[in-house]
Symmetry: C2
Subunit: 213 residues, 2 copies
């Protein structure tokens, strides 16, 4: 749904200069913490250059949620940590100023829709990973077994013809149709499987599918 739209080129032009007037500029070396995600924090950041990582730390692991690049903007009070994955140049402003600037530059709205849509897709993949990790592993093994027994080389990778419905695959791996369908779609979104046609899949990189966490 989000229109493909980047404001990276707008931001460096005269219109960007006007939009970013009054913003505070800060530089961050690689690895430095930009936001501790405190919900009391207030404001908006705009990435001028570099790459940011949004993440959460729980008791036993760290979870990357989303990466930002040039032209991306986000709020600081999301509750997530944000660090510089690369040396980064950022602009900051408060919410009220950002809201005003946004209304003066309505085309920036498309950029926001694009970022929010990308973040939403990325968050959903994280939820699927957390919920469906076990079954995704079993399906990965199921496809690897088929690739070894009956796979054929194809331009998209090893092609596997499974003459079974999702319901049949679900029975083979001992799960429900719905969970199996979601998990297969999730592997497709991860780029580990490609659906070529009805019951025909390609595995672009068997090693990547095997080492799937």
């Amino acid at each position: 749904m989000p229109p493909r739209f980047s404001i990276a080129n707008i931001l460096v032009g005269p219109q960007g200069e006007e939009f970013l007037r009054g913003f505070i500029h800060r530089s961050y070396p690689k690895g430095s913490l930009i936001s501790s995600g405190d919900i009391d924090e207030n404001g908006i950041l705009v990435v001028m250059s570099g790459r940011l990582r949004m993440f959460l730390i729980s008791e036993d692991r760290e979870l990357s949620l989303f990466y930002f690049g040039p032209g991306d903007m986000f709020c600081l009070h999301s509750g997530c940590l944000i660090e510089a994955a690369e040396p980064s140049e950022l602009k900051f402003t408060d919410l009220a100023t950002f809201d005003k600037k946004l209304r003066e530059n309505p085309q920036i709205a498309w950029a926001l829709i694009s970022i929010l849509g990308r973040a939403l897709a990325s968050f959903l993949r994280t939820i699927e990973d957390l919920m469906f990790h076990d079954i995704k592993q079993r399906i990965a093994n199921y496809f690897i077994d088929h690739a070894h027994s009956s796979g054929r080389p194809s331009p998209s990778g090893v092609e596997v013809e499974i003459r079974l419905s999702v319901e049949d695959i679900a029975k083979s791996i001992g799960s429900s149709r719905q969970a199996t369908s979601t998990a297969i779609n999730s592997l497709i979104k991860d780029g580990l499987l490609v659906r070529q046609g009805r019951g025909v899949y390609a595995i672009p990189a068997i090693e990547r599918l095997r080492s799937f966490r």
Copy 2:
């Protein structure tokens, strides 16, 4: 960040009639499945009336991700299931038509930003629930213990004064400062705790905090 904005009132006016011209109208009884979340599904839905639930089903549980109300719109290829939580009237169109209509009615972009922002916050709460469930329970117990030993009634609920930093709370429950901070913020976002001031919290409903999953 998402500006508070609803297009529910625009959709029922003359502008809405123009915007929704060519959309397909469908009615759904309560409990009926609207989208199976197949990533091959294509299109946009707009809620005219009723309430929709977006959810995922894994092997051992069902997880509600987001609720839609009148004026909300979303894509069908998210990979999530969508059902009618109440009897609902919807409008459907394909992506290309929606994109065109959106460009003709740019103020609809604000509605999209608002929905995407709300969905993002809701998805993040789900991730926190999945990642931080154990530690949230321990913190809930910690606050309930304090409420029983030293709580005072206040207009916001039982007020608890913890003369300790987050770092000290983390040590008491045997966790890291960062995980404890995220988990406390998550309980605040859930409405189970209210931060009154430095080290002072209120518990609006002890029973709700106790029965926290």
